[in-house]
């Protein structure tokens, strides 16, 4: 099977799963921005998704993408370290055109994964999980599993969560700033002219997505201060 036993095939898996995760982030960001306008509207979105069958199918699909992306990342890194050989260079320099992020994708990915764990604890475990197991492990003041607006307000009124989420999103920005054009390069949809175009399109797109997330965090943090 070429997706496992050829180097380009393995990269295609990284590229397709990564691209799908960028699409998911876009969808997630758009949902979050509803909270900027109205808490009730946001809760309506939470209710619409909740633990309905389509949301569960989506969650399972998403988890599958994340696991495949992780497993392949570790697998590729081990293979690449082996290919580099046991004897490393004494002096290494990074040429100007080489992005810092491109050489640190695994580390950035690990930070993103840790952030994801925190995020699942803060939100998912109080929402969809409670609905699935019919639990009642809510935060004091949370009005049922679909009261997402309360959880946003509760989480981002605590400065250390705000800080952790900002660090998480910054790492995600670096990861995606390389990941976006890299995914298209791997799929072969690139050339001398399109290379710069994809880089610019990618940077703008990724920045907008991350800013969407930051806006919600910032608004609720400043609201809590007032």
């Amino acid at each position: 099977m070429w997706l496992t036993d050829s180097s380009i095939g393995r990269k295609v898996v990284m590229s397709v799963t990564g691209g799908a995760l960028i699409l998911f982030l876009t969808f997630h960001m758009a949902m979050n921005c509803v909270a900027l306008i109205s808490g009730d509207a946001y809760n309506a979105v939470c209710e619409f998704l909740g633990a309905n069958w389509y949301a569960l199918v989506g969650t399972v699909g998403l988890a599958f993408l994340v696991v495949v992306h992780f497993v392949y990342a570790i697998w590729l890194t081990i293979q690449n370290m082996k290919a580099r050989g046991s004897q490393r260079y004494a002096v290494t320099k990074r040429p100007k055109s080489v992005e810092w992020a491109s050489q640190n994708m695994l580390v950035l990915g690990a930070i993103v994964a840790i952030g994801l764990g925190l995020h699942l604890f803060n939100f998912w475990s109080k929402m969809q999980l409670q609905e699935i197991i019919h639990g009642t492990n809510f935060i004091a003041g949370q009005n049922g599993p679909t009261d997402g607006a309360f959880l946003i307000q509760y989480t981002f009124s605590q400065w250390y969560y705000v800080l952790a989420y900002i660090v998480w999103l910054a790492a995600l920005w670096f990861h995606l700033s390389h990941g976006f054009w890299s995914a298209l390069q791997t799929l072969g949809w690139n050339g001398k002219i399109w290379f710069r175009r994809w880089q610019v399109i990618g940077n703008i797109y990724v920045t907008l997505v991350i800013l969407g997330f930051v806006a919600v965090i910032a608004m609720f943090f400043f609201k809590s201060l007032c």
């Binding site: 290919a83 580099r84 002096v91 040429p95 992005e99 050489q103 072969g188 050339g191």
Partner: protein, 251 residues
């Protein structure tokens, strides 16, 4: 302007593929700045031989940047600090008086050290033998205008064909991947009508040979492109990816 400089050379010495190597430091005195890097190593070797020591082993041949024989990882760059040039085209005027110059062999599992600064690059020959050629009968030499080829394609094919197979891409890559080399060799033929006929088979055969020989997976860091003495573009890698994916989908 010419002047003389003195510096320290920190050179990797290793007696054989299985033996443990280490750095040795040599003092170089009053070397004219218009000496080429390889001439400077010749001077060092002459001194070593006169002192009854083993000379430093390094690869070199044409000394005019076209054969792809010279290598050397100098101060953290394959082929040294100059861009778009091979080690043999590097001159001592690039270095400062009193500097320590670190010289290492290519380091990659695909290119094991033979001795000192010389590495075994036969893996590249094996990749070429796997499919880097045209096997269809192209007949006698046709008239140059018999097969029309656009200027754009001809230029891209020529750019790809400027790869000298030195291995700097593998040496520069943190993943020890040979994708830039393989993509250039696939592209130089895939872009032209007579090479296009076997393009799919070629991409599959050369890539699987590359994987088999233990080169890494490309992660698009672009270090290869930045360090390539012939400035081969990673757009060739995109073309290889395209050819390979299309070939696999057609299977």
């Amino acid at each position: 302007m010419e002047k003389n400089i003195s510096f320290k050379l920190k050179i990797w010495r290793q007696r054989g593929p299985k033996e443990k190597g280490q750095f040795k430091v040599y003092e170089m005195k009053d070397i004219p700045t218009d000496t080429s890097f390889l001439e400077m190593l010749d001077i060092l070797n002459e001194q070593l031989i006169n002192a009854g020591e083993e000379p430093v082993v390094f690869d070199h041949d044409c000394r005019e940047g076209i054969c792809g024989m010279c290598s050397l990882y100098i101060n953290g760059h394959p082929h040294g600090p100059a861009t778009g040039a091979t080690t043999c085209q590097l001159y001592m005027r690039r270095f400062k008086d009193g500097e320590t110059i670190t010289v290492e062999p290519w380091r990659s599992a695909g290119f094991p050290v033979i001795r000192d600064l010389m590495v075994d690059r036969r893996a590249y020959d094996k990749i070429m033998q796997a499919g880097g050629y045209v096997s269809i009968n192209t007949g006698g030499v046709p008239d140059a205008n018999a097969i029309p080829i656009s200027k754009e394609k001809a230029d891209l094919a020529m750019d790809a064909a400027s790869c000298i197979g030195c291995g700097a891409c593998v040496a520069a890559c943190k993943n020890g991947s040979a994708m830039l080399f393989v993509s250039a060799k696939v592209s130089q033929l895939a872009l032209l009508p007579q090479g296009q006929v076997e393009a799919e088979r070629r991409a599959k055969a050369m890539l699987s040979k590359m994987d088999e020989l233990g080169f890494g997976n490309c992660t698009n860091t672009r270090a290869c492109e930045a360090e390539c003495p012939k400035c081969i573009s990673i757009s060739n890698i995109a073309r290889l990816n395209r050819e390979f994916i299309a070939a696999k989908l057609n299977d």
